[in-house]
Amino acid sequence: MSVLKKTIAHRYFKVSLLACSTILFSAQTQIAREYQIKAVFLFNFAQFVEWPTTSFQETNAIVIGVLGDDPFGTYLDEAVRGEEVNGHPLVVQRYRHINDIKACHILFINAAETRQQVLASLKPKSILTVSDADNFTKQGGMILFFTENKKTRIRINLNATKDANLTISSKLLRLAEIVGPQKN
């Protein structure tokens, strides 16, 4: 709960920061820069992760979805604009509700969402779940963004990716922290 409270507080803080952007310009920029990187990282995941071919039955494009509030602003769109990976064009979709999700390959789950439910519902689908919420990997999430020494780092739950039939490039794995899945 403390994480939630913290996130909320953080969120509020962020909102207030945005509201008072003229006053707290530097702090605002700091956060913006962080999500810009995370946006690029989301796009880069497309390059280092392989989906089963069944994932492309509904659409040829690799769909990057954002569930809940979108923290990236325009960064994500900018990051994927005009890009394609292995012949798959990149598309960004934003979902308000879990049920909105149809064909999706990479899903960024906002920390504010009730993740355990979401994750449970997504389980049979080959969707790479990403979030910057604490304990995300412990909860069965696949990739967690965390900050270490002011640098954005990645933690990967390999059991989760395996269960989702996703193959993650070893190159990506060497950059990331690997954790086992949290069995509930």
Binding site: I37, Q47, V85, K171, L175
Partner: protein, 749 residues
């Protein structure tokens, strides 16, 4: 590549070694070059591959901006130590990470360059894109040194060296073995050639060791040796002939080369100049035989000839002065000819010593001068003589007149007859009167034999013989006949003269008939005397013998009746009668000598003396008598008479030296002007030379009978016998020192 003295064995070895070495070296070099070339390509390829791996691995690091990871990936290059630097640039071209991480940023390119590899400053550098899928994520930069290549080349170099060393060793061993087939026959050839050249022995033959080209060469050399041997033989014969000719040449023969050095020198040259051949050969001719003041001219002449081929002295006979070894100069006659054999020019000089000729010439010159002088003197003399001749003609005339007078008026008979035909040419008045001829016409043109003037042909023969032997006869006594047949004695002397250029016998005779008559009378008187004394002696012996017999009887029959005085007196009578008997015997012997005819034979004086000495020695045993007898020549004499002479002289010598402690009698002879003189010398009592006249008289004695017994007949007999032999006897003596008797006999008498 090879020094001149390198043996074929070594040369062959070196050829093989150098060839194989060069091939190996070239192979290795080619391999190196190939290696270098291919290795650069391989390096680029390797680096590219390595880059690909790094690039591929570093895509995530670039994508997720993980510098540490990027550095980790680059650090993996540590395994490849030749990568000296590497770096990653992000997609914006900014340096993202670097290796080695402690290397200064300045050492890396600030921005990526061309995406290819190139060699720069001994390094291979290049850029490679880092792509994920087809998304460009950044650029990789890498820099590698040549170390790998060097390592590789080093390894290859080592191997190459090893290969070369082993190959060389192998080549050395193999070539050493294999070259025997070639070098052994060559070495054998060389050895033989050395033997031949060292010993000059061309009879040696090379043993053929193979049937290849060397075998052919061996055969060819052996054949050549045979030819050389033949040629040498021919050459040495020919050269010996030439030398014999040169050495027996009467002229000195000198060979000289173009440099003016003597190359040959014959025996005559040795004699003339005093230099032996060994000394002369190799010397400069100019310094050897040419006097100092001519040397420059000689050398200039030689130079001129060598330059132009012309010489004033070539092939001409010239006379000049030459030098002997002892420094003396003498004249020679010299002819020089140039000899060209092949390209070698030489000179041959024939030299004759003309010292004698020059002397002869000088002598002739001086003789001629003398002759002229003499002719002049003679002419002068003759002129004088002609004047004198006129005077002498006058004298001759006078002399002839004188001769004519002497000839005609000479009391001796003179006959001149030709020597060749014995015909009488001239006789004088005395001759005509001696021989009872009325005129000279009866005599002239006839021979003495025809004139029948010599009584006994044997006397004429003797005369002719004497004349033949001595060319002159003096006082030869012959019987001659007058025309009327009356015989008379003449003494004639004959000599050979030249009368009007004809050899003639000149005989001059005097009538000695009167003298001969007197001589005959004396001889007859002597004979009578001898006969008388013989008969007296003979008649005296008979009464003496009876006196001796009776006194003997008296002494023996009446001895006891006689007193001592009577006996003494009788003894005196007996001794004196004995002595008288001896005297009569001697006298008889002496007078018998005058009557006996002498028979002349060759008498061996040695045996005569030896026989006598035997008797004398026997009679005088114990007298310490010593005889010195030298060899005596034979003589023509009456053996018995001459034996008597020796007996008497030797007995005398023994008798008169018997009082001496060491009586020595010496018998010998010497030659006195062609006459043999015998002598008997003693060291006895001797006599006073004042009484020499009495020495040879009959019954004359110089010592008393008491001192030395004897009758005084012995030396008289000696004198008589020697005189009858036409000889002479004489003596020399000194009292108490000894006497020497000499005698000579003329065997012809």
């Amino acid at each position: 590549m090879f020094s001149k003295g390198t043996s074929i064995q070594r040369k062959l070895m070196r050829v093989i070694m150098v060839t194989s070495g060069a091939v190996l070296l070239l192979t290795c070099l080619a391999y190196f070059a190939y290696e270098v070339l291919t290795f650069r390509q391989a390096m680029v390829r390797q680096l590219t591959v390595l880059g690909e791996i790094i690039a591929t691995n570093s895509t995530a690091a670039l994508a997720f901006e993980s510098r540490s990871d990027a550095e980790e990936i680059l650090a993996a290059l540590k395994a490849e130590r030749h990568i000296v630097a590497a770096s990653l640039y992000d997609k914006d071209g900014k340096l993202f990470s670097r290796y080695p991480s402690d290397l200064s940023v300045n050492m890396f390119p600030t921005a990526p360059g061309d995406e290819s590899y190139r060699f720069e400053n001994f390094h291979l550098v290049g850029f490679q894109p880092v792509v994920q899928g087809n998304k460009r994520l950044g650029t990789l930069y890498m820099k590698s040194d040549y170390g790998a290549m060097y390592d590789r080349l080093q390894l290859y170099g080592g191997i190459a060296l090893l290969v070369i060393a082993i190959s060389s060793l192998l080549a050395y061993v193999l070539s050493k073995r294999l070259q025997h087939g070639i070098t052994k026959p060559i070495l054998a050839l060389t050895q033989t050639a050395k033997v031949i050249s060292n010993r000059g022995d061309y009879s040696v033959r090379v043993v053929k060791l193979a049937e290849d080209e060397l075998g052919v060469l061996t055969d060819a050399i052996n054949q050549m040796l045979s030819q050389i041997e033949d040629q040498n033989l021919a050459l040495s014969e020919s050269s010996a002939r030439v030398h014999a000719v040169l050495n027996s040449a009467l002229s000195a023969v000198i060979l000289m080369d173009a440099a003016g050095l003597i190359t040959d020198w014959n025996g005559r040259a040795e004699e003339i100049f005093g230099w032996t051949r060994e000394e002369a050969v190799g010397r400069s001719l100019a310094e050897t035989i040419i006097p100092e003041n001519f040397r420059v001219a000689h050398q200039n002449g030689l130079k001129h000839f060598l330059k132009t081929g012309e010489g004033p002295v070539i092939n001409k006979l010239i006379e000049l002065s030459a030098l002997r070894k002892n420094g003396s100069e003498f004249p020679i006659e010299l002819s020089i000819s140039s000899l060209k054999t092949g390209n070698v020019l030489a000179f041959c000089g024939f030299v004759t010593d003309i010292t004698k000729r020059k002397q002869a010439e000088a002598e002739i010159l001086s003789l001629n001068q003398n002759l002229e002088q003499k002719v002049r003197e003679r002419t002068d003399q003759l002129e004088n003589n002609i004047i004198q001749l006129n005077e002498s003609e006058e004298q001759l005339k006078k002399s002839n007149e004188l001769f004519s007078k002497l000839f005609n008026l000479n009391p001796a008979a003179i006959l001149i007859s030709r020597l060749d035909n014995a015909k009488v040419v001239k006789v004088n008045e005395a001759f005509l009167s001696f021989f009872g001829f009325s005129s000279s016409e009866e005599v002239l043109g006839k021979t003495a034999r025809e004139l029948n003037i010599v009584a006994h042909p044997e006397q004429r023969e003797e005369l002719a013989q004497l004349l033949k032997e001595n060319n002159v006869v003096k006082d030869f006594e012959i019987n001659a006949y007058t025309k009327q047949g009356k015989m008379f004695w003449i003494s004639t002397s004959i000599l050979i003269i030249e009368l009007e250029n004809i050899p003639c016998l000149f005989s001059i005779s005097i009538d000695i008939s009167n003298r001969k008559g007197i001589e005959e009378q004396v001889r007859a008187a002597n004979k009578e005397l001898e006969a008388f004394s013989y008969s007296v002696s003979h008649d005296l012996r008979a009464p003496l013998r009876s006196i001796h017999s009776y006194i003997n009887i008296l002494y023996e029959e009446y001895a006891e009746k006689l007193d001592e005085e009577a006996k003494r007196l009788i003894n005196i009578v007996m001794n004196n009668s004995k002595k008288m008997g001896q005297l009569i015997d001697d006298l008889l012997a002496f007078s018998r000598l005058g009557r006996r005819e002498l028979t002349m034979t060759a008498v061996n004086m040695n045996s005569v003396v030896a026989t006598i000495w035997e008797d004398v020695a026997r009679l005088n045993e114990g007298n310490n008598l010593k005889l010195m007898l030298s060899n005596l020549p034979d003589a023509k004499a009456d053996n018995a008479a001459i034996t008597q002479v020796w007996t008497n002289l030797i007995s005398n010598a023994v008798k008169y030296s018997r009082n001496k402690e060491h009586p020595i009698i010496e018998i010998g002879h010497f030659d006195n002007e062609g006459t043999t003189v015998y002598f008997v010398r003693d060291n006895g009592a001797g006599f006073d030379m004042r009484y020499y006249d009495k020495l040879f008289g009959v019954f004359q004695r110089l010592h008393s009978s008491k001192e030395f017994e004897g009758t005084g007949v012995g030396l008289a007999i000696v004198h008589r016998i020697v005189s009858r032999h036409g000889g002479r006897v004489w003596a020399e003596s000194k009292i108490q020192e000894g006497t020497t008797f000499y005698f000579s006999i003329n065997g012809e008498t």
